[in-house]
């Protein structure tokens, strides 16, 4: 590949080191990766291992197991509400960006929704890396001020009687919303319940519903 001349792709006048990088993000990342690997700062095999972990193992399927367990095991539910870090760890999920967990439960009267207005804090061990909308300026700015309006954009319309609790993750505490269990799910196994639990329902921007079925 031909060496790229340094290029200032930003309009601001003061020079930030990153403005020396190529404007195409893929080339920019390649340039930095070449440097950190060639300088022996980062092990390339460790890069692949972390990508695999966050692509394959760590995602909302983990949080869904926690929720399903809390729906089927009242003792576990109590433990989860009392010491979420320990309860979640029992199911094998812990660590980076979930070192200190708090679980909050949605009910008929209370709807919880989570945000990080200052950056994009998110409970990685149970939900994986955050979706783009969670990190967007619009969500971070608006959900603390107009939670009902934001929730309506997600298709979640709440009774006026309901109380909305917005949790702004400004420290290293990470919040997991325990959504309401849908009705008519008494016959479902824990695994079947987990399959119903969506990422958004555990952030508070969704509710768990049964898939629509034809008449049998």
């Amino acid at each position: 590949m031909e060496p790229k001349p340094p290029k200032d792709n930003h309009t601001h006048s003061h020079t930030h080191p990153h403005s020396l990088l190529p404007s195409d993000p893929a080339l920019r990342v390649k340039a930095i990766e070449t440097l950190v690997v060639d300088k022996g700062l980062v092990d390339p095999e460790a890069i692949e291992a972390l990508i695999e972990a966050y692509s394959e193992q760590i995602g909302p399927q983990n949080g869904a197991k926690v929720v399903a367990r809390s729906w089927t095991d009242s003792e576990y539910r109590s433990k989860l509400l009392d010491d979420a870090t320990a309860a979640i760890s029992e199911l094998g999920f812990s660590g980076l960006q979930g070192e200190h967990m708090v679980a909050v439960e949605n009910t008929d009267k209370i709807h919880n929704v989570v945000v990080c207005t200052l950056c994009s804090c998110y409970p990685w061990p149970v939900l994986g890396v955050p979706p783009v909308w969670y990190k967007s300026a619009a969500y971070r700015a608006r959900v603390v001020r107009d939670p009902r309006g934001v929730l309506a954009e997600f298709g979640v319309v709440l009774d006026e009687d309901a109380e909305v609790r917005v949790w702004d993750s400004t420290a290293e505490i990470r919040y997991l919303v325990i959504p309401k269990r849908p009705q008519n799910t008494d016959g479902l196994s824990e695994d079947e319940l987990a399959a119903l639990v969506t990422r958004d329902s555990m952030i508070g921007t969704g509710v768990v519903t049964l898939p629509e079925r034809g008449q049998e």
Binding site: H18, L41, I51, A53, G95, H100, S136, T170
Partner: protein, 220 residues
């Protein structure tokens, strides 16, 4: 600092752009940035608070204009440059300066993956007893310093109620400057939405924020 990152309550951003069936990553380079950022952290030349501060001190037009992983790459570049890992010439050329010594990475694949389920807990044991208890009414600081801190503008000078106490946690303010952990008691403080936003908010709704003891004063 009263930076562009402190977005809570700002208006004019329009509807939330929601992508149905969003993939975990949109480009192959995105998880590479995430991985490099985590792995460079093993050098312990910066910490999570310094790293957050490096994002919030990006030029405001970049903060709003770049995607999340682009911001991470930009801030990683700044952090690596400031720590002396790479020179401006190397950033510009994308190749290592001739004659420079090759380091040995602090984390291999096994170390990195073993670290994930542990992470870096921020809770610390301290001798000082918490000043506030559950139910205490507190008023947040009206003015903050220009460094890194975690007291959003939209709750400053407001009265809230302590609803959770999390023990003592590393204070971002000093930690971000690599000036010590200085752990303080951390509380979840609940504010009435109407106190923050006026009558347009529902009288039933609340916003809770996690705040360190030094950000708070008793509301007498």
């Amino acid at each position: 600092m009263d930076g562009i990152h402190d977005l809570g309550g700002m208006e004019g951003f329009g509807p939330i752009q929601i992508e149905e069936n969003e993939p975990t990553f949109h480009h192959d380079w995105e998880p590479r940035v995430m991985a490099m950022r985590l792995l460079m952290g093993f050098w312990r030349k910066w910490n999570i608070d310094a790293s957050r501060h490096s994002v919030e001190t990006l030029p405001p037009e970049d903060y709003l204009g770049l995607t999340y992983y682009e911001k991470w790459l930009a801030s990683l570049t700044v952090l690596m440059y400031r720590a002396g890992f790479v020179s401006l010439e190397e950033i510009a050329s994308g190749s290592v300066a001739p004659g420079s010594e090759k380091a040995s990475p602090p984390a291999d694949a096994a170390t990195a993956t073993a670290f994930l389920p542990i992470g870096r807990p921020s809770q610390r044991e301290i001798d000082a007893k918490p000043i506030y208890t559950i139910g205490s009414k507190v008023r947040t600081a009206q003015h903050m310093h220009s460094g890194h801190h975690r007291l959003p503008r939209y709750v400053r000078g407001h009265v809230g109620e302590i609803i959770l106490h999390h023990g003592a946690h590393v204070l971002p303010d000093t930690h971000a400057k690599m000036a010590g952990e200085n752990p303080q008691h951390l509380y979840t403080v609940r504010f009435k939405a109407r106190d923050l936003w006026g009558d347009e908010a529902s009288a039933k709704d609340t916003v809770t924020v996690d705040l360190w003891e030094g950000y708070l004063g008793a509301d007498n």
